[in-house]
């Protein structure tokens, strides 16, 4: 178990990595790609169609009513923002921790982050009702001479998620620049040469550039790390700053962050397994990578489980009947089914990852990752809906039922996410070539100090 297996398997050289990853976008796309794109984009169209109808008709088309004023829109928002956390975690936190195995997965995890945050951003934007005055959310002088309420957690969301998207985009783009230069140098057509030439900013790979580049990368990682923690913490304050039993609890910020990483890794896992299969990337995204990700899923799953337990214990310990009711109602009330789906998917099923065999079995991890995705959606559903549906006035209690528009928009958001993801996979390098080359043993200048000098010296093309 002394894991000294290399990060990249097979006899890869610098140029074989370039070839392998670039050729994915240079050759014709596999048939499955067109099929998937057709499917995903039609679902995205459903989303946009329904959003159009929502603008016309109003938020009444959703299942929200009194007392459940926050329905699936908020559930989906939190779900997607959560998914978006793995990318930055992999690119920033694992970078700071010098976990070199991240290099094979960071690029598409970052892309996934961007698209997930985009899918997330749609929901709060459309749930405001009067979308045409959405600019009220920004501190712009307006006809009422009023300013946004900076004491509201909902406004913090606007800034936190907006910042997160912007910084993730900068991070992603910065990481792409050297690879875009590779694409520029390999481009055959004039248009490609132009486009990649402009996008790569004229990158020359000189050490005087690398010096500042590496520093930028480090700084962005340093800035993104607290940012990624703050984003889901801010999302958690939407709930936790209130006085609603089941929402107001001090563990919410770290608990939301752990849950976000948990769900994000599950989504990366789902996508990575598919991508490595379709594009034959088994030697770059190795069993070691998958094993490590499974360990992180297990760890964050345990933190989430710890938080569920803490919440329950403290609800009892508080001696506060409202708190106690909220939790008993979650586990045994009308939404018990959702609660137990959540517990089984998020806490029980990931326990299988204690076994090394399961951590290294592709079908098993694929299925578990799907379960985690499901479980984490239900977690947000349980939080949002159970607490609201049983508020302080029993006469107002009600049961929430989604409409076709709730369901359609949720599924449609997957369509949007996958459409963007498929386009990314088609046109941009989905694995960071420069970073993977950097972790090859040949990349260490001292590799050549001794006998290697003559034997493996040059990289022959």
């Amino acid at each position: 178990m002394l894991d000294n297996t290399p990060l990249v398997l097979g006899n890869e050289t610098f140029s074989s990595i370039t070839d392998h990853i670039s050729s994915i976008t240079e050759r014709k796309a596999p048939k499955q790609w067109y099929l998937l794109l057709a499917l995903a984009s039609s679902l995205a169209l459903v989303l946009f169609g329904m959003i159009g109808y929502l603008f016309w008709e109003g938020t009444g088309i959703w299942g929200i009513q009194n007392p459940v004023g926050w329905g699936w829109a908020i559930v989906n928002f939190v779900f997607w923002v959560g998914i978006g956390h793995a990318g930055t975690l992999i690119s920033a936190i694992l970078f700071l921790l010098r976990q070199k195995w991240r290099t094979s997965i960071n690029r598409f995890a970052e892309a996934m982050t961007l698209f997930a945050v985009l899918a997330a951003g749609i929901f709060p934007a459309i749930h405001v009702g009067r979308v045409w005055v959405v600019y009220y959310m920004f501190p712009l002088p307006n006809q009422m001479q009023m300013w946004p309420n900076f004491r509201s957690p909902l406004l913090w969301d606007v800034f936190a998620v907006g910042t997160y998207f912007t910084v993730s985009l900068l991070f992603w783009f910065t990481g792409l620049v050297p690879d875009l230069a590779t694409y520029r140098d390999r481009a055959k057509t004039k248009i490609k040469k132009m486009v990649f030439g402009i996008l790569s900013l004229g990158w020359r790979g000189g050490n005087r550039q690398w010096k500042h580049y590496e520093m930028t990368y480090l700084l962005l990682a340093g800035l993104s790390t607290p940012l990624v923690l703050s984003v889901h913490s801010v999302v958690s304050t939407d709930f936790a700053t209130s006085v609603i039993p089941g929402w107001h609890t001090t563990i919410f910020p770290p608990y939301f962050v752990a849950g976000a990483i948990f769900s994000g890794f599950a989504m990366v896992m789902t996508l990575a397994i598919i991508a490595r299969k379709i594009y034959g990337l088994e030697h770059l995204i190795t069993m070691k990578h998958l094993d490590n990700m499974n360990k992180i899923i297990l760890l964050t799953g345990m933190i989430v489980g710890f938080s569920y337990g803490m919440e329950f214990f403290i609800a009892w310990y508080s001696g506060n009947p409202y708190e106690q009711f909220a939790f008993v109602n979650r586990a045994f009330g009308p939404y018990a089914w959702a609660y137990w789906i959540m517990v089984s998917c998020n806490v029980l099923i990931p326990q299988l990852f204690w076994s090394r065999k399961i951590r290294r079995s592709i079908p098993a991890m694929f299925i578990i990752s799907i379960f985690v995705n499901i479980g984490m959606w239900f977690e947000r559903f349980v939080i949002v809906v159970t607490s609201l549906s049983r508020d302080f006035l029993p006469s107002a209690w009600d049961y929430f039922t989604p409409t076709i528009y709730d369901i359609g928009m949720f599924i449609g958001s997957f369509g949007l996410f996958f459409t963007l993801f498929l386009l990314f996979v088609r046109f941009l390098p989905m694995i960071s070539m420069s970073e993977v080359k950097g972790v090859l043993p040949q990349a260490d200048p001292h590799y050549y100090d001794h006998e290697h000098d003559t034997r493996k010296g040059g990289q022959h093309v």
Binding site: R151, T163, T166, L170, S224, L227
Partner: protein
């Protein structure tokens, strides 16, 4: 045929180890306007070239602080000065509640400084550069390791420098030539 002008020299090295050694020799020989190109950053290259640490850290630190202050000031001015409103019994200047937005300002200022700062320090975007005159240079983003010397270097001498590059192990040493037309285009 139009006249050509030598704007630099380019030499290829077989692997990162050789490039690192070449960089040391370039520095010892006192070259200034040279650079070592590689498809990925090479560990120890900064020491070999005698490069100082990038000043970006300080720039980002200062701008991030300014960003935080700017965010706080905006929140204070809009909520406590320009249009004070009592909301949920909180003070007009509720600094704990203003933390998240001020933090977002801080990060966004810092991130833009990091990226724009890099592009300024690296003089990017720059689409026109002597090294691009070489066809071999396309390898620099694949598996090639190059040393380039520009003619702006005080020591630059087409012949001597070429010999020197070959002495330190450079292969395929070539002249980077700029044609008159291009120069003319530039001067326009």
């Amino acid at each position: 045929m139009s006249k050509q002008k030598v704007v630099g020299l380019l030499a290829e090295f077989p692997h990162p180890g050789a490039l690192l050694k070449a960089a040391e020799k370039m520095r010892e020989a006192g070259f200034q306007d040279y650079d070592c190109h590689s498809p990925f950053p090479i560990h120890g290259m900064d020491q070999a070239m005698g490069e100082k640490r990038s000043p970006l850290g300080w720039m980002v630190g200062i701008l991030a602080f300014i960003g935080f202050t700017a965010g706080m000031t905006l929140e204070w001015w809009t909520s406590a000065v320009d249009y004070p409103l009592v909301i949920s019994g909180k003070p007009f200047f509720s600094y704990p509640a203003y933390g998240p937005v001020a933090f977002a300002f801080m990060v966004i200022f810092g991130a833009f400084t990091a990226v724009l700062g890099m592009s300024v320090l690296n003089k990017l975007p720059r689409f026109h550069h002597p090294v691009f005159y070489s066809d071999r240079f396309a390898k620099a983003s694949d598996d090639g390791f190059f040393v380039s010397v520009e003619n702006t270097d005080p020591q630059f001498d087409t012949e001597k420098t070429r010999v020197f590059l070959e002495e330190i192990g450079g292969q395929h040493v070539e002249l980077l030539l700029e044609t008159d037309e291009e120069q003319a285009l530039e001067n326009e």
